[in-house]
């Protein structure tokens, strides 16, 4: 009898504990409001997101953003360093990106190769990227290695070895990467040239990859100084999303990062780059720039000045870009790609906003045998007529629906959430800024979009037309 009771009790115990169940606690899971309240609306302001974020700034300046998401027993770990090519000068261009590579080359405690073993040996994956404004490191791992990752990341924030032999090997690797992304890529050449011309005489005027001369000459000591100056807790934001208890993770972060000193170089650099005049547009527009490159048919970028992240006009330009080329029914695709006598293989519109400035550009690729001048003239004509013909209430609703889809897609994974939260924290010091963004987008009217369109295409001196073609003169 006693045995029977024991077995029954044990069975209840195992029924409740067995199996690799994920917690399905909707309070701790990202979702679109409670089930009862899940009305589906066309209005962005009626979206209710359950994003519960813990934020703390440590005494050394490190900003920590944590979000519990118990959907799966994994986590994403994002480190945003607020340093990119914008902090470089002639002679050390490419250093931010070079350093991104070198961050995987080991510390005293975690020698070369051990970082990859920690990540991959635990079933995770990681990567990093560098932009004009930022360098971001990210990984996805099972939750059981959280403490180890915090320790490893904190260690490489302060104790990077930068051994000379590894430095030289990585120099060779980056020179090969440069060929892959720029020298052998017509689109890479196009984009790089466009940015150089648009941002000439501003801190954004260099390339992220760096010039060949600088890549070949930059020294280990120069890059090490760059590391010590800018890889510091007071220049970093840590975002962690996953299946953990925020209090425990915060304790661990404070334990491993708390002793790292702030860098005294960060604030003077920020101050030296805070004057908006440094970033005012000085590019010469209303002209053509032609590059001889690896494109059998011309590819182009037609660039116009735009505004920095967060400016209301930037949101209007986002909508305009989508109306112009954001789907098969969009204006330029119908006029130049899908029409009876198409001129273009493809066309795209981007409002490329940075921390201090922006550029709005139309890019495309010509179909075989089409004339570049004819294309440019047609494009200019259609951009002007778009302001009158392409913008109406239906098009605005269309872009809002697409915006809503892409918004929710970002939130499906921990990595998407971490990237989403980190971007808002970096740019606005506020992870809730998306609510403000919804308000702005909802308030934009067809008239406002049309006015910005006319301002850009009708009244100014024209854009900067950059093209790459193997038949352009060298």
């Amino acid at each position: 009898m006693l045995d029977t009771i024991l077995i029954i009790l044990l069975s209840f115990f195992f029924i409740t504990c067995a199996g690799p169940k994920a917690k399905n606690n909707s309070e701790n899971e990202v979702n679109y409001g409670s089930k009862a309240n899940r009305k589906i609306s066309n209005n962005l302001n009626e979206i209710e997101l359950n994003l519960s974020v813990v934020k703390k700034v440590l005494p050394n300046g490190l900003t920590v953003i944590l979000m519990e998401n118990h959907h799966l027993p994994i986590f994403s770990y994002y480190t945003f360093y607020k340093v990119g090519a914008v902090y470089e000068q002639k002679g050390i261009t490419g250093s931010a990106h070079f350093l991104e590579h070198l961050m995987f080359k080991g510390t005293k405690k975690y020698p070369p190769g051990s970082f990859d073993k920690v990540i991959e040996g635990n079933g995770g994956h990681n990567n990093a990227y560098t932009t004009l404004d930022l360098t971001v490191y990210h990984e996805v791992l099972p939750i059981k290695v959280m403490d180890q990752i915090i320790e490893v990341e904190a260690d490489r924030m302060q104790n990077l070895l930068l051994e000379p032999e590894a430095f030289e090997k990585e120099r060779s690797v980056i020179l090969e990467e440069r060929k892959l992304r720029y020298e052998n890529s017509a689109k890479g050449q196009l984009f790089q040239k466009m940015l150089e011309e648009v941002y000439v005489n501003t801190p954004y005027g260099g390339s992220v990859i760096g010039s060949v001369e600088d890549l070949k000459s930059v020294t280990r000591d120069q890059v090490y100084k760059f590391f010590k100056d800018y890889y510091a807790p007071n220049n970093a934001i840590l975002v962690v999303v996953g299946d953990f208890e925020a209090g425990d993770v915060l304790n661990s972060i404070e334990k491993f990062y708390g002793g790292i000193s702030a860098s005294p170089q960060v604030e003077p650099t920020i101050i030296s780059r805070s004057d908006p005049k440094l970033f005012r547009h000085q590019g010469k527009y209303k002209r053509d720039v032609k590059i001889k490159g690896e494109a059998p048919e011309p590819i182009f970028a037609y660039a116009f000045p735009s505004v920095k992240i967060g400016d209301r006009k930037g949101f209007v330009l986002d909508l305009l870009g989508d109306i112009l080329a954001g789907g098969e029914s969009s204006y330029l695709i119908q006029k130049m790609v899908k029409n009876e006598a198409p001129l273009l293989q493809s066309v795209d519109v981007s409002n490329y906003s940075l921390n201090k400035s922006g550029t709005f550009f139309i890019s495309g690729e010509l179909l075989k045998g089409k004339d570049l001048n004819v294309v440019k003239n047609s494009l200019t004509k259609y951009l002007k007529s778009a302001c009158r013909d392409a913008i109406n209430e239906r098009e605005i609703i269309k872009t809002k629906n697409k915006y809503m889809v892409s918004f929710f897609k970002k939130l499906e994974t921990n990595a998407g959430l971490a990237s989403f939260l980190g971007a808002y924290e970096v740019n606005f010091n506020n992870t809730d800024f998306y609510k403000k963004e919804f308000e702005i987008i909802e308030s934009i009217t067809p008239n406002e979009v049309a006015n910005v369109c006319r301002e850009l295409f009708n009244n100014i001196n024209g854009g900067l037309f950059v093209s790459v073609w193997n038949k352009h003169a060298k």
């Binding site: 069975s11 899971e29 066309n42 991959e120 635990n122 060779s172 098969e328 293989q345 269309k398 629906n401």
Partner: protein, 383 residues
Amino acid sequence: MQNRFLFFFLLIILSLNSYASLSEKIEKFVWDDLEVVWIKDNRFPTYALTVYFADGALSDNPAFMGETEMMFNLLTSGSNKYSQKQISDTLDFYGASIDTQVTHEYSSMEVSGLVKDVVPTMQMVCHLFNNANYPNNEIKNYKEHSLSALDGIVINHSALANRIFREVSLENTPIVRPTEGYKATIKKIMQSHLRQKLDYFNRQVSKRVYLVGPDTLDVVKKVLLDDCGWSGMSKKEMFKRTVEIKKNEESGEQIIYLVPVPNANQAQIRIGQFLTKSEASEENLMQLSASFLGGGFSSKLMQELRVKRGLTYSASAYASAQKNYGRSGISTFTKNETIKEAFNTIKLVLDDVSRGKFLEDEFQLVKYLAEVIYLDMNKMVIL
């Protein structure tokens, strides 16, 4: 005796509970002989609906290779009721995306968007499956774009290397022909071919539907059965592609193709082979081997080529199987001056690995990575 019964009862409950907790969010239905697999996800008001078709580019007449892919790509180009502009305007208005993928043995189409608009979106999709008529001007337009894109491959040396490698490594197999076709075959595809192909895929090819989205997605059942007319589409008598591919046995022969590209400053390297069904049958072992050779940064090729010697930015290995065949290969690139060193390094790695000259902990690391990723992906799909 009673205790033993209870003990085994406990074990059964244990295993059932374990299984139930893993599969609780996957539901399988048969809607009037249409198989549906639904992963319930109530987190967001979005959906993804994927239709799997049990046939692909192997159904193409070799003279018109590319017709299946063209048929799917031009599905939204016009119907007996709507123009391309009207169709794309409707789909864009609902924020819907349609992505199609054609392989040799199967095809798939994913429709995604906001749940609030799934009915009108899928009604449009079903209308197209039954009424798309492939206007000639749209076909002409598509051909112009495709041919222009194919001409552009020559400047993308990586894509060019992939294309050439495909041709030489799959020679004399039915899968040597790329799913998008060749310039010569694309030019020959006519409206009648596309309409016949659509009719074939719509009415004769076996289908299964995969749904990801909230409970409210059940509205799509009526659309699939009534508007698409896909009742009975998973019955066994519906067509499913099977193919037997034999390899030309040239045991031990290694063939090297050198393709000169004027002014290239990097060399693309592709090494590999075609695998028959029996050679590709041990899928887990193949994936493990590929990861060990050229998966992440800790893989042998990345360590030897990039980390230790700085010869390349990337090196990868793959070994994958379709239903009836597989492929294995290594892909990397290096500057012209170090081609010989790169080759010697790859050879060294392959020789060492094939002789078991690697550390046990190197192997355990990759094994664990494969195991955890597999479990992780399972969990991500199921939960």
